[in-house]
Amino acid sequence: MATLEALDNEIAELRAQISSLQSHRANLSHILLSTPQLSQRVDQRPVTNESQRRKATKVVKKITNHNCEQTYRSCAGITAYKVQDPDPYAVDSGNILGIRIDVSIQGKFVDAYHVLFNRPDPSNNNVLQIHKHTIPPCIPLELLRNKFMPVAHKEGFEGVEQDLVRFGKFLRRELVSWHLRSVAVDQLRKEAGLPDAKTREKQEMEKYPVGKVLNEWADEESDRDEEEEDWIEDEERNGRQDPLKITDIDANLPVTQISVTWSNGNTAIMKITKDGRVEKGVVRSRNGARVSELGEKVVGRIEGLIERLTA
């Protein structure tokens, strides 16, 4: 049995080695093929086999084009391309214009989003309509479309004048600001000394093996058990002994709202603007009373929130 396991391990190791070597090889060959003036040299130097030379030129050209494309893509943020819809019944014989929006944050590429347009109006080739897209629903794509694209009606197209460039710009702004806000919330968690998303998830699992019940309050005052009262008092006593700290920071998916929970039972709910400013917030203590001195502090840039709250 032991030998079997050892063999399996060895095989797995070899596989890993092979794949790492393969990627290394791909990397090297790519670097070699991207050498400047390579195509000139291939063209000018004498070779014994003419067909090999043609092949080499082709490969070099392909890589050069690819490099050019990727460089453009990483610098421009929004790029356009053409796609052929495979559907034989597609509008405008399947001609599609796609735009790709690259989102990069803190020097790192995060994600890419696509919007594909077709031309539904045979009489007017300039009118575009969104055909497919990969924009998550928390981005107000529909509002942007209403603002910058003509809307289809029973007879022809009406509405605003089409402005594809501004549409793309604003859509990119929405996407990037969304990503920036979520990064900012992660940063807040780090600043408050809270565990990162993964360990947090694990802890939540242990705390709520089924899920988190949102209406977990007794419907009537009389239903409240003495035991529960005891428990709350217990917690409060503990809270008084321990130094006050933030126990949880949470945001909704579009990151328009952040909630902060303290160890003494205070909770804050804040509204976030698109450009990452805390617009307004309410802090309440466990029994529902408003803590106004903290509530005034929350307003400002999202980045300094923890500093403002702990100061």
Partner: protein, 510 residues
């Protein structure tokens, strides 16, 4: 047995919700159905969950202090002295792995909760049940949109100020509003829960068709014959404006008319509960339903795949989205792999002569496979967990002209068709696919020469699009001539085909 709660003297109808702590007998049919479907681990998890300090108020087990003299000692289990003792017992079972599911179930229903299961317990158990058995409910995706009158204002607004294009969800406010709509007509128990496994909020509404909200009224009446499930589930995925109600009854039972009406009423109350002054919402169908929650989340969820179905899903997640600075990834590993696989197939057939004979077949197969790949992309794989169980379409395209047919014949048949349609109209419940009067008029007023019969096609199966993909791969369906709606790119499960495409515009969210 538990002492029956003293019958309240005044049973006047009231305007309260059913509280979490009210109990229904452990022998109740709903309790039996839900609890017997749970796994051993989920039973243990639930007990842990119920006996957490914050929840004991509405999950109190039967303790020795509750024993009344009239009871005698007829229970199969000795009641524990404190919640900690009960908790410890189940924690020990969890650790040691002793005791079968049946044994634990018996202990829960006949021992520690012999005096009845509270509404809170039943609700959490049933949510656990459907997360364990994702096929038991049919989910229909609906969308909350602002009513048209408001939309006119909406367009004028500077959109950057409008940070809330999605309806705002605040649990206590929402529940209070919902209860305000529902309680005068029917009593209900509500439980809002965020499950650990999906990014969404679940609302379970237990409909109690009675004017009373007291505990005694919850016990089943002896002669009651309704066997429809009383719980309705509603799901809000995070960061979207969709709602998925579980419209149909679970476990294949047919709901009687009365309980169906009640459920519809609850669903109608949803947009009202979301509405605020100057911001009215309405609930619109999105023509999508599936038994699998993961499917609904993929087609009407918070992610990127809602409007990129079928072959277009290559834009969601593939080398197309790779980091453009990562040269190898952006070149596409697929290109590398493809080289390899073609080499392998050309080498495999062996001796020269045989290879020549087989080549056309192999070539055809790879061609078909490539066509399927180009039409379906990476979607419609049998095990991707994104299957739909039903696809229904109505064809509104004219029937292809049949050679040797005189116009007269055509007219006769269309008359026949109309007669058939009339006949169908009389019986049965109207289908969602029935033509509206307007559409019918449009068809009749159009060119006389075309014949547009009322043809409906429906596909059934565990994963309709994976099946269609397989048909393309083995060459039964021509992958190149196949219309796009057969690949699932329209993202609907019910629709009307016009000009070879599913008519859009009716689907909100384009």
């Amino acid at each position: 047995m538990a002492p029956p709660p003293p019958p309240p003297k005044v049973t006047a109808p009231d305007y309260k919700n059913i509280p979490h702590a009210h109990r229904i007998p452990s022998s109740h049919r709903e309790v039996q159905r839900v609890f017997s479907g749970l796994s051993r681990q989920s039973l243990l998890n639930l007990v842990q969950f119920w006996l957490h300090k914050t929840r004991r108020a509405f999950c109190r087990p039967y303790l020795s202090g509750d024993k009344s003299d009239a009871d005698g000692d007829n229970g199969a289990y000795v009641p524990a002295h404190s919640c900690e003792e009960v908790l410890e017992f189940y924690a020990e079972r969890n650790k040691s792995g002793h005791g079968s599911k049946r044994e634990l179930l018996h202990r829960i229903l006949e021992g520690d909760w012999r005096h009845g299961i509270t509404m809170f317990q039943l609700a959490t158990a049933e949510i656990e049940y459907f997360l364990l058995h994702p096929h038991t409910l049919q989910w229909t995706a609906m969308r909350l949109t602002k009513t048209p009158r408001d939309r006119a204002n909406f367009q004028d607004m500077e959109f950057t100020d409008e940070s809330q294009h999605l309806p705002q969800f605040h649990a206590p406010t929402f529940l209070a509003n919902l209860a305000k709509e529902i309680t005068p007509i029917v009593k209900a128990h509500y439980l809002l829960l965020r499950p650990k496994s999906y990014p969404m909020t679940i609302l379970r509404v237990y409909i109690h068709d009675s004017p009373y909200s007291n505990e005694a009224s919850l016990a089943p009446k002896k002669k009651s014959s309704d066997n429809a499930t009383k719980a309705l589930f509603l799901i809000w995925p995070d960061g979207t404006d969709f709602v998925y109600p579980s419209l149909l009854t679970s476990l294949g039972r047919h709901a009687d008319e009365g309980s169906r009406k009640l459920k519809e009423m609850v669903i109608e109350a949803i947009p009202k509960a979301f509405s605020r002054p100057m911001g009215r919402y309405q609930l619109l169908p999105t023509k999508f339903s599936s038994k699998l929650l993961s499917t609904v989340l993929a087609y009407r969820g918070p992610g990127k795949s809602n409007n990129a179905g079928g072959g277009f899903n290559i834009f969601v997640e593939t080398s197309l989205n790779q980091n453009s600075l990562d040269i190898i990834a952006s070149l596409g590993r697929e290109a590398l792999d493809k080289n390899k696989s073609t080499k392998a197939t050309t080498r495999a057939p062996g001796p020269g002569r045989k290879r020549k004979l087989e080549d056309p077949e192999v070539h055809k197969r790879t061609k078909r496979w490539n066509t399927a790949q180009s039409r379906f992309g990476n979607s419609a794989k049998p095990d991707d967990g994104k299957g739909i169980n039903r696809l229904e379409v109505r064809m509104d395209d004219p029937f292809p002209p049949v050679p040797n047919s005189s116009p007269r014949q055509n007219q006769e048949t269309s008359g026949l068709d109309r007669a058939q349609a009339a006949k169908r109209g009389r019986k049965g419940r109207p289908s969602l696919l029935d033509r509206t009067a307007e559409e019918q008029e449009q068809i009749e007023s159009s060119d006389e020469d075309v014949w547009i019969p009322d043809v409906r096609i429906s596909f059934h199966g565990s994963h309709v699009f994976a099946g269609l993909r397989q048909l393309v791969e083995i060459g039964i369906v021509d992958g190149e001539k196949m219309p796009g709606w057969m690949t699932g790119e329209a993202g609907v499960t019910i629709g009307v085909v016009k000009d070879g495409r599913i008519r859009r515009g009716e689907v909100p969210g384009f």
